[in-house]
């Protein structure tokens, strides 16, 4: 083999390897960052839960507001609202968008806060992740140990303002965004955005009433 030929071959192969290495690390970085961000958030939430007294929880307890802050730090409410409403989000006015977000946060808080008192040291293990072609979105696969069963939960994340944020949660393959989107679609088919917001607020009030009744029954 002539020397020039060999040189060309070696340099091309070298370039190929370099490119491969570069692309690998680029994607690995996105995945690693997303996983680390999620792990960090989960660690902080776990720490808060472990240190807090979870008896006699009320919706305005300091633990709940602390947790709310931590969750909203990793969970992008903007993305979540936008995606659950879908195409019609464009027809919402800026005030309606904020109102919708606030109402949605309140509803989620009202529905999920009573779950906090059920916490008893459940752990979340990160199993791995995958990215899309551009490396802009990452799906982190995790497994939550719940009552001796492993529940697969996937977190879909994207970079928002330089920080990896969760925009969808899939429990056993059931996407929360998709689920809410079908519901909102049905409500928006005949109703206006304002009616949808009112419906969210009503539901939150209804849940609080039910919880108050349940609490009264126990006493």
């Amino acid at each position: 083999m002539p020397k020039t030929c060999k040189n060309i071959l070696v340099s091309t192969c070298g370039l190929l390897i370099a490119t491969l290495l570069f692309t690998c690390s680029a994607f690995a970085n996105a995945q690693q960052e997303a996983e680390q961000t999620l792990q960090h958030a989960v660690d902080e939430i776990t720490l808060t839960l472990n240190n807090a007294n979870l008896n006699n929880l009320r919706e305005d307890s300091s633990v709940i507001s602390q947790l709310e802050g931590l969750i909203l730090d990793i969970f992008s409410m903007d993305q979540f609202s936008m995606r659950t409403v879908g195409k019609k989000w464009k027809t919402f006015t800026p005030t309606q968008k904020t109102e919708f977000k606030d109402a949605f946060v309140k509803l989620l808080k009202a529905t999920y806060f009573k779950q906090v008192s059920n916490y008893s040291g459940q752990t979340l293990d990160i199993l791995g992740s995958r990215t899309n072609k551009k490396g802009t979105k990452v799906e982190v696969r995790t497994s939550i140990k719940y009552k001796s069963e492993n529940v697969p939960v996937n977190y879909r994340m994207l970079r928002e303002n330089g920080k990896w944020m969760v925009y969808d949660v899939l429990v056993e393959g059931v996407s929360l965004v998709k689920n809410y989107r079908t519901q909102f679609k049905e409500l928006l088919r005949n109703g206006t955005p304002d009616e949808l917001i009112a419906k969210l607020q009503q539901k939150a009030v209804l849940i609080r009433q039910q919880q108050a009744e349940e609490a009264a029954d126990k006493q």
């Binding site: 879908g86 069963e149 056993e172 689920n179 079908t182 049905e186 849940i207």
Partner: protein, 292 residues
């Protein structure tokens, strides 16, 4: 030639890097996004949820157009057009909505106002370990043959092997299945806990889900899964006389009712429109189960 050898080795090594990194071939590296994730980790990854064959767009609702600024990357395998497409598919396949809503309301009453207090009383009489034991026996003796057959029918031979070995271990060393010993053992192939049924087998064979259907007592289902449920009841083991099977089935269902109601309540209580929420959750869950 010596250089050539090392080059090839280096190429092989470096191109295999991502496999070491997180245990699977990154899909992002391949151009073909229709390739689904490798087997094994599938339970934990939601494969691209492609719209079913029966996607129809009603009332002039065109499919999602991707020129939105929020949903720009249409070629991604978890872009947002799939969210929309699937929802369309779910929206149209409910011709019996009146019937379904009626049974949804009745079932809600049965679960929450009858089943829940009844099971609370049952829990006082029958302690937790006994309930788990009863469930283990039923799952071992009556569930295993069905899951085994369906795993084979879906071509999941490794899963069939897992089912068989779990059955042997639990029957031989777990007092005939009273204790789920196999759960705490570290197997060679980890058991992800997936359970195959005949509805999933039919789905794997390409039979579409058909219209959504709410069955009395059983709850959310569709035409395919109802057919699967009926078909499965003809599979062995079967008790003699036949009505004992129904008693056993009802008993085992009631035994674990708190679990079922827990899942049901989680879906319904977090929903703004509970009927739609449950319908969508069921369809997504079945799709994920069939695809893994």
């Amino acid at each position: 030639m010596r250089h050539g050898f090392w080059l090839i080795l280096a190429l092989l090594f470096f191109s295999a890097q991502p496999v070491f990194a997180d245990g699977e071939i990154p899909l992002a590296m391949t151009k073909d996004t229709s390739v689904t994730a490798p087997a094994g980790s599938l339970l934990y990854s939601s494969t691209p949820l492609i719209a079913e064959n029966d996607v129809q767009y009603t009332e002039g609702d065109e499919p999602f157009i991707e020129d939105d600024d929020y949903f720009e990357d249409s070629e991604d395998y978890f872009d947002d057009s799939e969210y929309e497409a699937e929802n369309e598919a779910v929206t149209v396949s409910d011709p019996f909505e009146g019937w379904n809503r009626m049974w949804f309301a009745v079932n809600d009453w049965i679960y929450i106002d009858v089943g829940k207090p009844a099971h609370a009383a049952y829990r006082i009489v029958v302690p937790s370990f006994a309930r788990t034991g009863i469930n283990n026996v039923v799952v071992n003796w009556f569930g295993m043959p069905r899951r085994f057959v369906n795993a084979i029918l879906q071509g999941k031979l490794a899963l069939a092997g897992i089912e068989m070995s779990r059955f042997i271990v639990n029957t031989a060393f777990g007092f005939g299945g009273l204790i789920d010993l196999a759960k705490d053992l570290k197997p060679v192939i980890p058991h992800t806990g997936e359970r195959e049924d005949f509805g999933q087998t039919l789905g794997t064979w390409g039979i579409p889900a058909g219209p959504y259907l709410v069955l009395p007592f059983f709850g959310a289902s569709n035409f395919r899964d109802t057919a699967g449920l009926v078909g499965e009841s003809f599979l062995p083991p079967s008790l003699n006389p036949v009505y004992l099977n129904y008693v056993l089935f009802a008993g085992s269902q009631f035994n674990m009712l708190d679990k079922r109601i827990g899942v049901y309540e989680n879906i319904v209580s977090t929903a703004v429109e509970p009927y739609i929420g449950l319908r969508n959750a069921y369809s997504q869950l079945r799709k994920a189960q069939i695809e893994n």
